[in-house]
């Protein structure tokens, strides 16, 4: 499963990434394997989405969220 499939309010553990370049950026921003990620809300047009990780909010495109593999 990946983070673009989360439902609003649902929280799951990050287990890995599927995009090499993007993963480094996400890790640097605090999206670490082992952390919980939850979906806050989705933009009106269905994209981008806003997630919560490690105590702060992050907004990313759906395609970017899809590169975060969750449990």
């Amino acid at each position: 499963m990946n983070a673009s499939e989360l439902k609003i309010g649902e929280s799951r553990e990050i287990i890995g990434f599927s995009d090499d370049v993007l993963s480094l950026k996400l890790i640097e921003m605090g999206c670490l394997p082992g952390n919980q990620i939850s979906l806050n809300y989705i933009a009106p047009l269905g994209d981008p989405v806003c997630v919560h990780v490690e105590g702060y909010d992050l907004s990313l495109r759906k395609s970017e969220a899809a590169s975060i593999i969750i449990q």
Binding site: D20, I27, P44, L45, P48, G55, Y56, L60, R61
Partner: protein
């Protein structure tokens, strides 16, 4: 002594920089790249001058953009002219682990480092705590708690920099580069650093309760709602637009009036001659043409500053990203584009907030298509001349409809141009959205006023130079002619005046027209006539085209002078006069529908504005893009005016 401020985006770097340097700051350029360099200085506790440089915000030393590359270069290259003797690493304490990642990377470079722990007020508000004495001993570097908003801890920093600080021992990891895949190696190293930080932070951060019901949590559902969200955005954009359009009007009129008065006062007291002319008709109006933009720039940047400081700008991006991405633009392009309807100059400066280089460049290139307020007088006079006063369906005024269509046309041109440019501009940088959604905060007025001051100063000094030079050239071209052309043509007018007993006013009007016609600008107008004849223009319109390169609205004034209208402020008299002009070959009115539409299209698309060119030069740091833009827009203007005229005539 040189110190550098480094930290994550939004960690409070700019606020700390403002606290340290106050008014002693300037914006320059890192050599070779288009990244702004904010530098300044302060006097330390011993009274010695300390240079401070505010590095761009970054999450790590593995660069993903040109800005982040600068940070890495400055900090790792000991030969770099900006290489600091000391780094102040600003750490947002509400998100300490992630912020310490960058700190740990800088720590390993062998430069003395101070850890400035910022936003502790927010940590306490959330009933958490951080033991900074323990932090100090675990990392073995000075830790200072600061509040970059209120200035707590600033004096301590100023005291500390006077002490000799040794570089900390390297304790971390090296990127071994063993796997041959740099992305992989960097990831492995980053994860190890985090593991290390987890160890080090044990017992330092006390996190008794996670509170999720902050103000931000309560407000965000409204700000990103599919109805309220866009409603609020639209209302805010409307206010911004109103402000630059109408609030700026009276200070602009004031500036305009004062410069005119000053000019005529000088003209009265100076002995007539070239110096007086240069001053009163060239330099002073030229400077006036720069100063006139300040109200709009200040107002726009006040709003943008508020949007950024409060954290609302990230919501704008969130709402608009999907739509704007279709056109190769960015959620942040919305504010510059809308501001472009008032004036492209502050709008282009506002593209600063777009972090993707490519998106920013595209926004800069298309913003001048938005119908700015300087086009309005040109449109008004042309519409009055050639569009009949008719009602469509009995309610819609045709003149109003044409004006509205011209605004829509500008907007569509901007979007279509983005689509086209998107295909050509490749920076090799992949466009990501991934960004932090900062929590909502009250703006700081001192930060706001410093940013307004800085934007204004940059515009006046950088773009101002170019605007002034072009004004002087245009003034010269319109006031002097080859040989004795001007004096002779004026002699002829005086003779006619004597024969026909013209009034003094009438004579003066005719004299002005004769002067302009036989000036260099007049000759140039005749020179380009063959090129513009297919668009339906004669050499007189050619002169207006050339002189309105200074600013589009100059078209009206020049046309008035050339056709000897006299008092130019009266729209009606210009209209009546122009309506009587006949085409020498056909005997029909000079300004018929075909010519009028052709001119409107020309002004809709052409880059007829030296100030915009100057500001694009400043923002892209070179002549390449303004020249491409000028060529692109002029070609489009020429072709569409040509088609319109040939079809309609």
């Amino acid at each position: 002594m040189k110190i550098a401020l480094a930290g994550n985006p939004n960690s409070g770097k700019s606020s700390l920089f403002n606290q340290l340097t106050g008014m002693n700051q300037k914006v320059g350029n890192f050599p070779g790249v288009t990244v702004d360099k904010k530098s300044g200085f302060f006097k330390d506790a011993k009274g010695e001058t300390v240079q401070v440089i505010d590095l761009p915000g970054t999450y790590s030393l593995y660069p993903k953009s040109e800005e982040e590359e600068v940070v890495r270069e400055v900090l790792t290259n000991k030969e770099h002219p900006e290489h600091p003797d000391l780094v102040i690493a600003i750490v947002d304490a509400t998100n300490i682990k992630r912020n310490l990642l960058l700190f740990s990377q800088i720590h390993d470079l062998g430069i003395p480092i101070i850890l400035a722990l910022n936003m502790m007020d927010l940590v306490r508000k959330r009933k958490r705590s951080i033991d900074n004495i323990l932090l100090n001993s675990r990392f073995n570097v000075p830790v200072i708690e600061i509040n970059a908003r209120t200035g707590i801890g600033i004096q301590e920093i100023k005291n500390l920099v006077t002490l000799p600080l040794a570089a900390p021992d390297r304790i971390y990891f090296e990127n071994t580069g063993s796997s041959g895949n740099p992305d992989h190696d960097q990831r492995v190293e980053t994860l190890e650093r985090y593991k290390f930080l987890d160890e080090k932070l044990k017992g330092i951060v006390h996190d008794p309760e996670k509170i999720n019901t902050t103000l931000t949590r309560k407000l965000d559902p409204y700000f990103t709602h599919r109805i309220w969200g866009y409603g609020i955005l639209l209302a805010l954009l409307f206010i911004v637009f109103q402000a630059i359009f109408s609030w700026a009007e009276w200070p602009m009129d004031l500036i305009d009036g004062s410069f005119q008065q000053f000019s005529s006062w000088l003209a009265d007291i100076l002995p007539p001659g070239i110096v007086a002319n240069l001053l009163t008709e060239g330099i002073i109006p030229g400077i006036g043409g720069i100063v006139i933009f300040i109200p709009q720039i200040a107002i726009l940047f006040a709003f943008i500053g508020i949007l950024e400081e409060t954290g609302y700008m990230s919501r704008v991006v969130f709402l608009m990203d999907k739509i704007m991405a279709i056109f190769g633009l960015n959620g942040r392009s919305v504010v510059p584009l809308i501001s472009g309807v008032a004036c492209a100059v502050p709008a282009i400066m506002a593209t600063r907030t777009i972090s993707s280089k490519r998106d920013r460049l595209i926004t800069i290139l298309v913003t001048p298509f938005m119908s700015c307020s300087a086009r309005l007088p040109v449109y008004t006079i042309l519409i009055a001349l050639v569009i009949p006063d008719e009602l469509i369906f009995g309610v819609i005024n045709l003149k109003g409809l044409v004006l509205f269509s011209l605004y829509i046309l500008g907007f569509l041109a901007a979007l279509i141009a983005s689509l086209i440019i998107k295909q050509f501009v490749k920076t090799g940088e992949k466009s990501y959205l991934v960004m932090e959604m900062p929590s909502f905060k009250m703006p700081r007025w001192t930060n706001l006023s410093l940013s307004i001051l800085e934007k204004t100063r940059t515009f006046v000094t950088e773009a101002g130079k170019i605007i002034l030079s072009i004004s002087i050239v245009l003034w010269f071209a319109a006031s002097y002619g080859p040989g004795t052309a001007i004096t002779e043509s004026q002699k002829a007018v005086n003779q006619l005046a004597a024969e026909n007993q013209w009034s003094e006013e009438m004579t003066q009007v005719k004299l002005d027209a004769a002067k302009l016609q036989s000036s260099y600008a007049g000759h140039f107008g005749k020179f380009i006539e063959p090129a513009i004849a297919p668009l339906g223009y004669d050499w007189k319109i050619g002169i207006a085209l050339i002189s309105s390169f200074a600013a589009r609205e100059v078209f009206v004034g020049t046309i008035a002078t050339i056709y000897s209208v006299g008092e130019t402020s009266d729209e009606l008299s210009i209209k009546e006069k122009l309506a009587k002009e006949v085409h020498p070959d056909t005997g029909e009115p000079r300004f018929n529908l075909a010519v009028g539409i052709s001119l409107m299209l020309f002004y809709a698309f052409a880059m007829q504005c030296m100030s915009t060119i100057a500001v694009v030069y400043r923002e892209t740091k070179g002549w390449k893009w303004p020249m491409i833009q000028l060529a692109f827009m002029t070609t489009l203007a020429y072709v569409s005016a040509l088609i319109a005229y040939q079809v309609l005539r």
